[in-house]
């Protein structure tokens, strides 16, 4: 049997806590070698969705498959295929980093995983700290440890819940490079973040979640195109400064012509590209259509 091609498939997923709908009819897929960004404000349902994939939470209804394996019916197969970095940092006190990673490998049936562990510790800049206890690490180091822990068994799907929250700029950039390396190795990544420039840089596709509902989902550039506008600031001899909003894929010449600007009259043009942030803001603040 060949491996199922789709790393993550979520269909009509619902999760309610009592009468509260935390996740409401959510559907999306993450493809191999793709970084998918699940974005949304606090309480949108991102962590809940990840918790359902990892079986920490039970879904109310819908389908969640990891490489074709249902996460509850075939949990063992599914669990072997993903690694997860939780939003909250874990603080176990008894063992050092290397011991923790050896235990983690053992849970996946891998004994003496030293080579892989050292490689990961090296890539994440933790090698010289390998004999420290978790509580002796800084917050950023803990986060990197959690990433190493999620990768000991070389999963083909990585779930990252806000991996860069509270992480300094240098480290954040290192993590971006790391995620890009993983992607080039063909690993699928599901990422949540509140940093939209980060999502714009990293994610091939994004889904924007609000109140548990997917407001938009698609290639990052397409979402920007569709929901954000670029701003063209023109300075003319006759009218001074003027701002023109336009669709991101419109050609500058056409825009100027449409606005009736004579090239001879033009002093300066400055273009501010449409940002994911604008698209996000628009999608999130859009008045919700009549909901019961």
């Amino acid at each position: 049997m060949t491996g199922h091609p789709i790393p993550l498939q979520i269909q009509n997923l619902r999760k309610s806590y009592g009468s509260f709908q935390a996740v409401n009819d959510l559907s999306f897929v993450v493809n191999p070698g793709e970084v998918f960004g699940l974005l949304g404000p606090n309480g949108a349902g991102k962590t809940t969705t990840i918790s359902i994939i990892t079986t920490l939470e039970k879904r109310t209804s819908g389908e969640v498959k990891v490489f074709g394996h249902d996460v509850t019916a075939e949990s063992r197969q599914a669990k072997c295929k993903f690694g997860v970095v939780h939003q909250e940092v874990i603080n176990s006190g008894f063992f050092d980093l290397e011991e923790l990673l050896q235990f983690q490998s053992g849970y996946y049936g891998i004994r003496n995983n030293t080579k892989r562990i050292h490689e990961l510790l090296g890539r994440l800049g933790l090698f010289e700290h390998r004999h420290k206890k978790v509580k002796q690490l800084s917050g950023g180091m803990k986060r990197r440890l959690m990433i190493a822990k999620a990768l000991v068994h070389s999963p083909r799907l990585l779930l990252l819940d806000e991996p860069t929250a509270g992480v300094d700029l240098t480290l954040r950039e290192n993590l971006w490079t790391f995620v890009q390396e993983l992607r080039s190795e063909g690993i699928a990544v599901l990422l949540t973040t509140h940093y939209l420039e980060e999502a714009e840089l990293l994610c091939d596709r994004v889904g924007i979640l609000n109140h548990g509902k997917l407001e938009a989902c698609g290639p990052t550039s397409k979402i920007i195109n569709q929901f954000a506008q670029k701003k063209i600031i023109v300075e003319t001899r006759s009218a001074g400064r003027k701002e023109i909003m336009a669709k991101t894929d419109e050609v500058l010449g056409d825009i100027l012509v449409a606005s009736g600007i004579d090239p001879k009259d033009l002093l300066d043009v400055h273009v501010e590209e449409g940002r994911l942030e604008d698209a996000f803001r628009k999608l999130i603040s859009a008045p919700m259509e009549a909901k019961p």
């Binding site: 079986t55 669990k79 603080n91 008894f94 490998s105 053992g106 996946y108």
Partner: protein, 257 residues
């Protein structure tokens, strides 16, 4: 299988890291129990069936240490994991419910066995100093049966309680309001022969009575209850506690505190 062995190894190495706390504390407490009850008060307390009170007390203390430590090991491991958050890992990694349950239960048995053994050795020294002879083991297989049953049973109970517990207070409340009374009233210090028929009847409802007397039978050949009865009730207890642990694992919370 590797997953199960890894978790078991982790459980054992975890208490090995706090070996002093694991072994010295019960060493001191069994020393004090033996000194106060076995030697000082023991002179005026009758034993049972020609066995001295000191000898009667030793298997009781061994079983008490075994049960307490088996319970402590699994429950404190789970509860501290809930506190630090790595309990979630247990749910996320591909370990089956049975692997998790038996790794914790066996971890409890191993720690219970070590502490029970230390208690036994302390008891031996007291016995030698007091009576002039070493205490033998009359029925080694029965002894083994009740050691294994007691350790596993309380390891399983620890899992059950820890998964339901919502805080450290819940856990210590269970220890002091349920476990401690049942242990003290389960025939560790006294034979139920000395109780009135009514209280004898009540005592027989206490499942710990059968484990404690079973171990005493293994060591000394005396018991307040029948061997088959003890073995059967211990076995049924094991099955029941296994099922309880299983339910708690499925229904209980893996959320961190």
């Amino acid at each position: 299988m590797t997953g199960f062995l890894t978790l078991l190894e982790k459980e054992i190495r975890r208490f090995m890291k706090v070996l002093v706390q694991t072994v010295v504390t019960p060493f001191i407490s069994s020393f004090l129990y033996l000194l106060v009850f076995g030697v000082s008060l023991g002179a005026s307390v009758p034993g049972k069936d020609g066995v001295s009170y000191l000898a009667f007390l030793i298997p009781g203390l061994v079983m008490m240490a075994l049960m307490n430590n088996a319970f402590q090991n699994s429950s404190s491991s789970i509860v501290s994991s809930k506190f630090s958050g790595d309990i979630e890992d247990l749910r996320v990694v591909p370990l089956s419910e049975n692997e998790i349950i038996w790794a914790f239960a066996l971890g409890g048995l191993v720690r219970g066995f070590i502490v029970g053994f230390v208690t036994f050795m302390v008891g031996q020294v007291f016995h030698y100093l007091q009576v002039g002879t070493w205490l033998g083991v009359v029925h080694p297989f029965a002894l083994l049966y009740f050691v294994v049953a007691g350790g596993l049973l309380f390891g399983l109970l620890g899992i059950f309680v820890a998964f339901w517990a919502g805080s450290f207070e819940h856990l210590s409340a269970f220890s002091s309001f349920v476990l401690l009374p049942l242990t003290y009233l389960g025939g560790v210090f006294l034979s139920i022969d000395h109780l009135s028929p009514f209280w004898q009847g009540v005592s027989k409802l206490n499942p710990l009575l059968y484990l404690i007397n079973g171990l005493r039978y293994g060591m000394l050949g005396v018991s307040d209850v029948g061997l088959v009865e003890s073995m059967t009730i211990s076995f049924v207890g094991l099955v029941v506690f296994y099922l309880m642990a299983r339910v708690s694992l499925r229904r209980g919370s893996f959320q961190r505190w």
